[in-house]
Symmetry: C2
Subunit: 369 residues, 2 copies
Amino acid sequence: MRDSARVIAALDWSMTQIHNFGAGPTGLPLAVRERLADALQVPFDHAPSLLEVSHRGARFLEVSTRLRAGLRTLLGLGDSHEILLMSGGAQLQFALLPMNLAASGTATYLESGHWSRTAVAQARPVSRVEIVGSSAATGFTTLPAVGPVPSDAAYLHYCGNETIHGVQFSAPPTAESPVIADLSSEIFSRPYPFSELAVVYASAQKNLGIPGLTVVAMRRDLLERSPRSLPPILSYRAWAEAESMPNTPATAAWLATMEMVEWMLREGGLPAMAARNAAKAAAVYACLDRHDCFETPVAREARSSMNVVFRLVDRAEEPEFLKAANAAGLLGLEGHRAVGGMRVSLYNAIEMSSVEALVAFLDAYAQRG
Amino acid sequence: MRDSARVIAALDWSMTQIHNFGAGPTGLPLAVRERLADALQVPFDHAPSLLEVSHRGARFLEVSTRLRAGLRTLLGLGDSHEILLMSGGAQLQFALLPMNLAASGTATYLESGHWSRTAVAQARPVSRVEIVGSSAATGFTTLPAVGPVPSDAAYLHYCGNETIHGVQFSAPPTAESPVIADLSSEIFSRPYPFSELAVVYASAQKNLGIPGLTVVAMRRDLLERSPRSLPPILSYRAWAEAESMPNTPATAAWLATMEMVEWMLREGGLPAMAARNAAKAAAVYACLDRHDCFETPVAREARSSMNVVFRLVDRAEEPEFLKAANAAGLLGLEGHRAVGGMRVSLYNAIEMSSVEALVAFLDAYAQRG
């Protein structure tokens, strides 16, 4: 397809622009991608790239320093929280959180879709677990309310945005116990009351760059909960003591996230991201709402601004719809294999011009003969 | 320094070539680095790079398929072993190995330097541990012999090459229990009896590319040892069932390792790597041996071909020596902070021409007035 697209491009540039609506690993802003490519270019003197030097040397430590500073600015967190830069994705956190923070007490969870369910599944083998609110009964098209919480609750865990089911909490739930937020697919999409949360964590491959880095901001008093009986590599306390370098980090992901964070700050920070993202989501939902051929399963108040899920009323048309979208340069619109249908991911890197191209396609599809 | 180097380069190219002898993350072959840079270039149609697409989509699955095929060819392993592509570095394996494989029985270790010691420290909290051979008494300048092994030994773990102390086993130790080899800093530097080993593992940032991927080749029968009580993300069995994609992998590291593995195969595979590496190490050791001003602490039969450690007889000269080497474009020669002195890392990507530049510098240094 790419070769023929290049030929057509000579005739009409606009026909061949590719728009990447994939759910992750997701598109990078072009400026970030160009910087990463530049960082790998082989210079005249064959000097090593940032991926070929010691992670403890001056060149890479500058990346680390800029990354941490940018994250702290965007999170708006003072000395109350430690920022840990870890690996292994959010799923490793699903296991480490109960191992470290619920050695005594009950780990409590809100169940709002696939990812919060997976967090529960990873926690069950290592902790007492209780689900204190679930929207399973609606097929995860609504958000759960917080029910009675046991008095020995070690924490309350929720997933701020469910990538697969397309539901998003407008604000964190409140609870007496420390609240832990998995914000993997929405972090830095809008201002957020980060400082009210005990733990905020996010894998990088949605709004923070490329996979390999997981950012964990944790209230310092919680670090004391890590049992001394854990291997250090699985202990938050030991990670904090090692300043997030107990071993070699995934340097490419750190570099990409540094570029992403600095790009967000240059673009105006979280208020600017929120304005862009609200406009993008509003345009897509408005388009889906105005045509009878589309269905949006999620309740209005639970709709995600990051992952818009929809179906065709005529399910049998969906494969052809996706094929036509791909041919029009609109990539990554397949829904997750667990739920089918379509999904539009609108992470920070997605430009309004891409949304306009999608809306034009959806309008044309709805009005076809 | 880079800018002035560029000016000088106009006068004498050879003066300004940089040679990267760092211990890791280490240099990539120029061809590999160029391919990675190319992969990130923004094309005419803005098509996403390989780091911006789903890890379960056709484009990235080709990377996965080529990576696995290349690894299997280089390892020479048939269906007896599962190849797992994990994250978290070798240190995460230090914890996972005893958690998965020594739930019953004693985890036994050979202690030959910093990294095998660290493996023991990560294992102690989760398993019964016994050190069955140690070279601590010689300051890790020799290799340990295998002493009496308890009858309930779950495995024998050794570190094939100690990056910091510069000692290397010429061949795996023999034992009745399954033998586990941490080959992080020597894998694919030479032909190796991989099929005799129960587990071979290596983090990627030495001979396999950039940090973020850890390759684990494990005899399939051992997968059955993983206790069902482990969170799936910490279970080898579950990783095998998920075909190494329980979650999003560090795609940049997978791509880099695919390029590295294919580069090694194009260059002639392990016999070619072994011939290059033997010649490189012989040239460096011969140079160090012929000058009285250098000291090599490691016993001859234990010398590493990957990490050559040495000192100046006049310790006080070492800072000036390193400064002069840096100015000559010879980077990364500082010894690890744990032992001081100097270290020359000679991983697969290092060219003989770099070794020649180093030897010329060492000769000139030794013969200075």
